[in-house]
Amino acid sequence: VIASLLAAAPDFTAPTIDYHALAPEIILAAGICMVLLVDLFVEERQRWITSTLTGMVLLAAFVPVVTLSVIGGDVRSLFDGRYVIDEFALVVKALFLLAGYVVVLLSSNEVEEGHYHQGEYYVLLLTSITGMVMMGSARDMVSIFVALEFLSIPAYMLAAWRKRDRKSNEAGVKYYLLGVFASAVMLYGMSLLYGVTGTTLLADIGPAVTLDGNIGGVEVVAVAFVLIGFAFKVSAVPFHQWAPDVYEGAPTPITAFLSVASKAAGFVALVTLVYLAFPNASDVYQPLLWVLAVLSMTVGNLLALRQTNIVRMLAYSSISQGGFILMPLAVAGAGSTAETSLKAVVVYLVIYAATNLGAFAVVIAVARKTRSGEISSYGGLFSYAPALGVLMTVFMASLAGIPPLGGWYAKFGAFKAALDAGNGWGYSIAIIGAVNAVIAAAYYITVMREIWMKPVPDGDVTPIRTPMSLQTALVITCGVTVVLGVLPDLVARYGDLADLTGAFGR
């Protein structure tokens, strides 16, 4: 059969493949197989090997990312520009791999002690990370969609990992149904786009969306549907309903994973779409994203204020943070703003990832002792676990955007982009954002207050033993949070717009 197919396509030539550029993905794919095989052949007691192996695979995949960025030079474009390795792709790949590594560190004890299926857990985690890494380079509707499903489907299963827990099952089903629904909406939008423009390559869609200078009804629907599909992924209000339940029900490391890495992947896709496919459709996406951003910030914040469970609180807070990340995108079309916005989004994603993972690391560490997710269980944390107390304070303050911690620079960049636009949309969203930053501070402060000022509930002051892997995760995340706050220049230079769009020789 294959022979006849090949005969039918005599002019088929295999594309030349730049193996160096694809190395991270190849290593990850090999790693997935390796973990799966190892899991088959080791005894139950030695399953911890899979965790270590996963971590090593992620670090190994990180090596080519580093070498690629050190070599620098030209943008590497594969498969006719459908798969591109540029600075933006490398930054987000590094982000996903490191975030994945931290999640593995967070998981190792949790999964081992919970008697979950360790091997499968890590295989799925790796698969999902592979999807994200692909997302960083995808510059074609098909490859974006494949990457998205690649990262989502394992995530659905991971959300339901605590099999005997009803909430976890609910989380899995809810996440699955809404996720598939979002994919369907998006796919519909994509098919319309293909129908209108006749291409799936983002860079070709860009000019084709507005051939005659106007945007027709079909194009509006297409752009809106694609964006809404990703709005589900990044849990922007009003497409956020799945987030809190899923976050609460899923195992906590997976919650951290979903709220950071999976969300970031959604934003990466949004960024590539907005900058490559829809630059001429800014009249459509700007108001849409503006509304999404404002709603996400405000609604997320107001709901977070009422939460008593820390994971739910962090879930709503991440919705509201998502609003802040959308803020620069909502004004990205206004002249010179494009570059500022892109930088703001990249920086925000990196800093937010470090801070939020750190916060979840503390949540996991504390829950090991208290077995509770209530904010009130943090009472007096400082008195019996000062290190965790201080770390949580650092993370909360960073999320609230207080200098000199990372969060302030992230927020600063977002405000800067909004004001750079210099139009009514930009000014109004900046003011709304400023008010929301204050509201957000109120609930982050609540956690700090518990840690520092409240008495210990039921007087149990036995210190918390934090396992080695969690400690490593905490050191990494806290280090990044603090260093980027003082020296934001380290990441702020990434996200060069010319690189992103220039890859197509425009």
Binding site: K343, A397, A400, I402, P403, P404, W408, Y409, F412, G413, F415, K416, L419, D420, G422, Y427, A430, I431, A434, V435, A437, V438, A441, A442, I445, M448, R449, W452, M453, P488, D489, A492, R493
Partner: protein
């Protein structure tokens, strides 16, 4: 041991900074992407405040030696204090808006914890209120900084650069940007409608917190006006000056009346801060060299005097376990030295000539007689009259406070006779044993402040000389 080490560290840091009185200026690239630099420098306006923040922190450290408020943990307390110190000193020397903002915000969190952890019964409410108010102000401030950045061509955040180019901004935009900064700084000062966090924060904060709050933190706001808002946006400043003036005078009268209604000593001093900062803001709003000089002097004087009053309140609280004015009486009999120091400070605070407070208040009122040419003379003369009435009220509440607490005989509760038991609670037994006069450490912490109050009162030229050239430069815009 930790206390000692940290204390010595601060002392060395302090001496080091003192020797740097020259126009120390450093400019390093910091965040190149947003064109913000690590630019710091000192001039006549910032030097006194910078120095004040150093002195006050060291004195507070000395005071903390044996006055660590419950629940203890001096290590954390002093760490917070050092972070505070970094933020305050940094704000006064920053010559870059973003750097200024960062330092301005650095102060927030340690103060929050200081009030929240070591404060009084209502500490959580007070600290949250403090935090949210200031956070709100600074969020708006940041937005206006950014607007300023873009309106001047997105070139630099450096203050000298912006002063040069701020004049190009169209008037309407400038007025809005100024409004954002106004809210940010006014919350910190605090000016009249934004002042409600202050009494709570002061009352609930530990002594050290109150002292730093009163002596330095409030100055961050007024300093912001003088350093940033007015020089960069002079046209908008002219538009806003009457509003600032009116609010300042309302603050003076409101603060004074508020004082008269207080039953708690610390709360009374807190309201008196609102009144004093009103004088400072009145001086600033005249936009004259005299007014701003007076305001700067008033800032330092208020820092010294009110800081001292809060020290005293703290010590009284420690001895009597109450600050109810009703229950205190006859301090002069039981602790003559402390009583006299309190009298001295009350006099200084009400603006007795010859003490530092006078040189802040009097010229500020006087300068309102002839404000900058662009401003309405009639309005400011009216304000002057009302402000002068405010000084009378100030005399009234301070003397009233002093009379009630220091004169007369100690109440039975604290007189230490055999009646102590009849009061009831067993805890009251040892009240009178706590009551002792000023200790040696307290002398160490207070003497420099008292000396400074006298020295600056008798010889104000000492400070005016440093400030005047810088201020004259600043108001040149208004006197073409």
């Amino acid at each position: 041991v930790a206390t000692l080490g940290v204390g010595i560290y601060t002392l060395t840091q302090f001496d080091y900074d003192q020797s740097e009185k020259l126009q120390f200026f450093a400019d390093t690239k910091w965040i190149t992407v947003i064109k913000s630099g690590y630019t710091i420098g000192l001039d006549g306006i910032s030097l006194p405040l910078y120095f004040l923040s150093m002195v006050i922190t060291v004195l507070v450290m000395i005071y903390s030696w044996d006055h660590v408020p419950s629940p203890g943990n001096p290590k954390a307390f002093l760490i917070l204090m050092l972070v505070l110190q970094t933020g305050m000193a940094g704000t006064f020397i920053a010559q870059d808006l973003i750097l200024f903002f960062v330092f301005f915000e650095v102060v927030l969190l340690p103060m929050y914890f200081m009030i929240g952890v070591w404060g009084g019964e209502n500490r959580q409410y007070a600290s949250l209120k403090f935090f949210l108010y200031t956070m709100f102000g600074s969020a708006l401030m940041l937005v206006s900084f950014l607007a300023l950045f873009y309106k001047t061509g997105a070139e630099s955040f450096s203050i000298p650069y912006l002063i040069e180019h701020g004049i190009d901004i169209s008037k309407n935009v400038a007025i809005w940007i100024f409004a954002g900064m106004f809210v940010g700084f006014a919350v910190k000062v605090p000016m009249f409608p934004f002042h409600t966090w202050l009494p709570d924060a002061h009352t609930q904060a530990p002594t050290q917190g109150s002292v730093i709050l009163a002596a330095i933190l409030l100055k961050l706001g007024t300093y912001g006006f003088v350093r940033i808002a007015i020089p960069i946006l002079p046209q908008a400043a002219v538009k806003w000056a009457p509003v600032i003036g009116v609010l300042a005078v309302i603050g003076i009268i409101y603060g004074a009346l508020g004082c008269l209604a207080q039953t708690d000593m610390k709360r009374l001093i807190a309201f008196s801060s609102v009144a004093h900062m009103g004088f400072v803001m009145l001086g600033i709003s005249t936009l004259t060299s005299m007014g701003i000089n007076a305001a700067l002097f008033g800032m330092v004087a208020h820092g010294l005097i009110t800081g001292m009053l809060f020290f005293l309140a703290g010590s009284v609280k420690e001895r009597y376990h109450t600050l109810e004015i009703k229950r205190l009486s006859g301090l002069l009999q039981q602790m003559p030295k402390l009583g006299w120091i309190m009298g001295f400070c009350a006099m200084a605070s009400l603006g007795l000539p010859g003490l530092a407070g006078f040189w802040g208040e009097f010229p500020a009122i006087l300068s309102a007689y002839s404000p900058a040419p662009q401003l309405s003379t009639g309005l400011f003369r009216t304000l002057m009259v009302i402000a002068a009435l405010g000084t009378v009220l100030a005399a009234a509440y301070l003397l009233w406070l002093y009379q009630r607490t220091a004169f007369g005989n100690p109440t039975a509760e604290f007189s230490g006779g055999g009646h102590a038991h009849s009061v009831g609670a067993a805890g009251h037994d040892d009240h009178h044993s706590d009551i002792h006069d000023v200790t040696r450490l307290e002398w160490m912490a207070w003497a420099p402040l008292l000396a400074a109050i006298v020295v600056f009162g008798v010889f104000p030229q000492l400070m005016f000389k440093v400030m005047d050239p810088a201020v004259t430069e600043l108001v040149k815009v208004f006197n073409p």
